[in-house]
């Protein structure tokens, strides 16, 4: 197992290299000119060219790539072309909000969705099941921003329980953090609750017909234990997978939530950077998210064999 984890960690390196090359090429294929953003509307072509020269954008691709790789090897993520600030500093500033919201979302989603899915499967084809199903379909098909607006309307504007927008780090106090993070987390959670609940239900349905469930009942085990200990663990693998890939989705999918709730996170940073073609920021962001994906999925893969001992690596 240790060997496996070690191997996986080593395997991260080629993944990162692939991502790096791919992203680098992709970025240079997309039209757009950071120099133009910098210079503004009325710059002349000659001015633009001078800025490009200074930013090193006129060098051959391979030179630019090697330069970037060199920087990376020295642990330097580079400097934003637009704001001229260090990328690592930006990431540090922006990562906190996103990670905090994402974690809170995951906790909320799993805590709500798994029991929902379990109960729906247990009461297969009853109104409970139907309710969970319908909710999750809504969760998929209502745009995130609508959910956000509705939550704001109810909890921030009508009830005035929480602020409309903004973000405070947990270090500024749990109360302020919580009151601002709860709506965005709920907003983000809807879609994951929907997804996880559906997956839990589907997976549980497969399991509940098994003989060992009957055995558990024969032992006089309480129904909740039958469901959560015996059945859920057997149903866990696809659920875990969804949670894992869902986390990855979260990281990149927070854009809308972050704009609706005005949270200075990396989702917004990424989109802003893409729209401004701020190459060093985009590259760093994608490497970072790739790293997170790899890590989260490693966790998920390792946890498979914890939940299903027949899976061995």
């Amino acid at each position: 197992m240790f060997v496996y984890i070690l191997k996986r960690i080593v395997a991260t390196i080629p993944v990162m290299v692939i991502v790096a090359v791919f992203v680098f090429l992709l970025l240079r294929l997309t039209p757009g000119d950071p120099a133009a953003i910098l210079a503004g509307d009325s710059a002349t072509p000659a001015q633009l060219d001078r800025i490009r020269e200074r930013l090193g954008l006129n060098d051959p691709l391979i030179v630019q790539f090697m330069r970037w790789m060199g920087q990376l090897l020295r642990g330097d993520l580079g400097t934003s072309l637009i704001s001229n600030t260090s990328v690592s500093g930006m990431l540090v500033d922006r990562l906190g909000p996103t990670i905090n919201i994402a974690l809170m979302t995951i906790v909320i989603s799993v805590a709500l969705a798994v029991p929902m899915g379990v109960i729906a499967a247990w009461r297969h084809r009853t109104w409970v099941d139907f309710l969970v199903m319908s909710f999750s379909v809504l969760g998929f098909s209502v745009p995130v921003f609508v959910i956000g607006y509705i939550l704001i309307q109810i909890f921030a504007i009508e009830l005035r329980w929480v602020p409309v927008q903004g973000y405070r780090a947990p270090s500024d106090g749990i109360g302020p953090f919580f009151s601002r993070a709860i709506l965005p987390s709920l907003t983000l959670a809807t879609i994951y609750i929907a997804l996880i609940a559906r997956m839990t239900r589907a997976s549980m349905l497969e399991v509940l017909g098994e003989d060992y469930i009957r055995t558990a009942r024969a032992k006089g085990v309480r129904e909740n234990v039958v469901l959560f200990r015996h059945a859920l663990r057997n149903a866990a693998v696809p659920i875990l997978t969804i949670i894992g890939t869902g986390f990855a989705l979260l990281i990149s999918g927070v854009v809308v939530t972050e704009s609706v709730f005005n949270i200075p996170g990396i989702g917004r940073l990424t989109v802003d950077a893409i729209l401004a073609r701020d190459y060093p920021v985009i590259q760093a962001m994608i490497l970072l998210t790739a790293g997170i994906y790899v890590f989260v999925n490693l966790l998920v893969d390792v946890s498979y064999s914890f939940f299903d001992p027949r899976i061995r690596y």
Partner: protein, 561 residues
């Protein structure tokens, strides 16, 4: 032979079943699965339920447990009362209270009945946690104790093991431990010893009877093993087609059966005496195994463990038309040998030559064309059938793989169904809709359909009632004669081994302790262990087919009859 002959009329009535009718859910007009079952079991009594496979024995027991599959079967009439409490009307929480404390059940198929993702130790402990207030340490102690009592070896390891790491018999003993640990008032045992070798079986049976003496436990024992019935039963009910056709105290039933069906059943019980050896062939052996070694595992979650040496230095050859039997205690490595030969697992060491090809080292792809030559009937028939596939599809899979056109394969499948005594229309059903024995016959049919050169049968008949078992053994014999199949027959049932084997190989703890012609090994065992095995064979003093006791003075004679 001594039969039990206690009178229970004074003892309290534990289970009372009246006019029980079970049918398909939502379809009261369809033919019921159980019809008009009446049954009484009193404290301390052992009531055996025998009868053909698919006759409704398991369904009866599930109905008592209140665990009929809701979507498929439902109680449509009658009454079941446990110590006066009517189960048919009990609420879910009442039922929960009753289970494990008052009624416990050992399920028929131990692999599917155990949760694959929980350690078996935890699964036993759970019963205690649910129904007692014992401390953690006490719980564990009770559990390990119980595991010792069902004669599991190496309990510390097995406590930590997951079901898939255990042999069939070990799993079954886990089930037994789970059922016995709370000393229930009524124990339902559905074929609890099918996967156990006779010595272990004997110990388990003793364990149950001790509990009965101690607690006055009533036992409903479902089995097809007449030897076991003869040993343990107070009363016997014979089932056929969802009805009880005959009920009698054990002695009466064995000496003077009334119904034709009962007679037929008893006549089918094989004799423990080895059958006449077949003419030795000089043909080239089709399978030869040399120096086979298999060690499982070797790495744990966070620590290295030594691994389980499941088979060591196994050697044998089989010629066409011959049968080699492997007998031995549960967990001795029989299935492991079978799986190595089938190359379902890769042997750690050794050679396996089938039809002239050395297969122990072949890659998967190279092996595939040779698979036609050797087939296996798995120990666990339910799991070995794809639950999403109809029986017809499962039966056709192999032949189609090797070029038989689909129509032809279908026609063959239908024939095979008849061969193993299942209705043709069952072809369109799914595995979960069959009884345990029916599934096993399907598994046999599937292997036979391939007309292999070598057939490995891992406890292929252990779940079958004797009449069907006899048919299947005839069938195997017939196939062997017609196609010259070499057979590796794994069983713990010495009667069966005696019936079918030319040679017998005895295994213990991964080692071959004795190997020789059947007549010699069974009639004149050299090794202590073999001797123990034979001694332990239940009901060996009774000649079931003739409704009388065997003359023990001339055991050797049987070999020549």
């Amino acid at each position: 032979m001594e039969f039990k002959s206690r009178d229970f009329s004074q003892a309290g009535r534990v289970l009372k079943i009246r006019k029980l009718k079970v049918g398909l859910t939502g379809r009261p007009d369809a033919e019921p699965v159980l019809d008009g079952i009446d049954l009484d079991i009193r404290a301390g009594e052992t009531h055996c339920l025998v009868g053909e496979s698919g006759s409704g024995k398991s369904v009866t027991s599930l109905a008592v447990m209140g665990l009929l599959p809701k979507d498929a079967l439902e109680v449509q009439g009658g009454l079941i009362a446990l110590e006066g409490v009517e189960i048919t009307a009990a609420s879910a929480s009442q039922m929960r209270e009753l289970r494990a404390r008052k009624i416990a059940m050992i399920f028929q198929e131990p692999m599917t009945a155990l949760n694959p993702v929980l350690r078996v130790g935890e699964q036993i402990e759970e019963v205690l946690n649910m129904h007692t207030d014992l401390s953690q340490a006490e719980t564990k102690k009770r559990t390990l104790d119980m595991m010792e009592q069902v004669h599991l070896p190496d309990v510390q390891r097995i406590y930590q093991a997951f079901p898939h790491q255990l042999s069939g018999g070990q799993r079954q003993r886990i089930m037994i431990a789970m059922a016995l640990i709370l000393d229930p008032d009524l124990l339902i045992a559905d074929e609890p010893t099918t996967a156990l070798d006779v010595t272990t079986q004997l110990q388990i049976l003793k364990l149950i009877s001790e509990m009965q003496e101690r607690q006055g436990t009533a036992v409903l024992f479902i089995t097809h093993d007449m030897g076991v019935v003869a040993e343990i039963a107070d009363t016997v009910s014979v089932m056929q087609h969802g009805r009880i056709v005959e009920r009698a105290p054990i002695r009466d039933l064995l000496t003077d059966p009334q119904e034709d069906y009962t007679k037929k059943l008893l006549r089918a019980v094989p004799n423990l005496a080895p059958r006449a050896a077949r003419a030795a062939t000089t043909a080239q052996e089709v399978i030869s195994v040399q120096g086979l070694d298999m060690t499982y595992g070797g790495s744990g979650f966070f620590r290295k463990s030594e691994g389980v040496k499941a088979a060591q230095d196994v050697n044998f050859t089989i010629r066409p038309g011959q049968t080699l039997g492997i007998v031995g205690e549960s967990g001795s490595g029989k299935s492991t040998v079978a799986r190595c030969i089938m190359r379902l697992i890769d042997p750690t060491e050794g050679k396996v030559t089938v039809a002239g090809t050395e297969i122990a080292q072949l890659g998967r792809r190279q092996l595939q064309p040779h698979r036609k030559h050797f087939q296996i009937v798995f120990q666990d028939p339910y799991r070995s059938l794809n639950p999403r596939w109809t029986v017809a599809r499962s039966l056709c899979e192999g032949p189609i793989n090797f070029g038989t056109p689909k129509d032809e394969a279908m026609a063959k499948a239908a024939e095979l169904m008849e061969l193993v005594d299942l209705p043709r229309d069952a072809l369109d059903r799914y595995p979960h809709q069959f009884s345990g024995g029916q599934r096993q016959r399907i598994a046999i049919a599937r292997a036979v359909a391939m007309k292999p050169d070598v057939l490995v049968a891992d406890e292929a008949v252990s779940a079958l009632d004797v009449s069907v078992q006899a048919q299947v053994l005839d069938l195997l014999d017939d196939i062997q004669e017609r196609f010259g199949v070499a057979m590796l027959f794994i069983t713990h049932d010495l009667r069966v081994a005696a019936q079918i084997c030319d040679e017998v190989l005895v295994m213990q703890k991964g080692l071959v302790v004795e190997h020789g012609p059947a007549a010699q090994v069974l009639a004149d065992p050299r090794h202590d262990y073999t001797r123990n095995l034979i001694e332990a064979a239940p009901g060996r003093q009774w000649d079931f087919a003739n409704f009388r006791a065997l003359e023990l003075a001339h055991p050797r004679q049987g070999a020549t009859t």
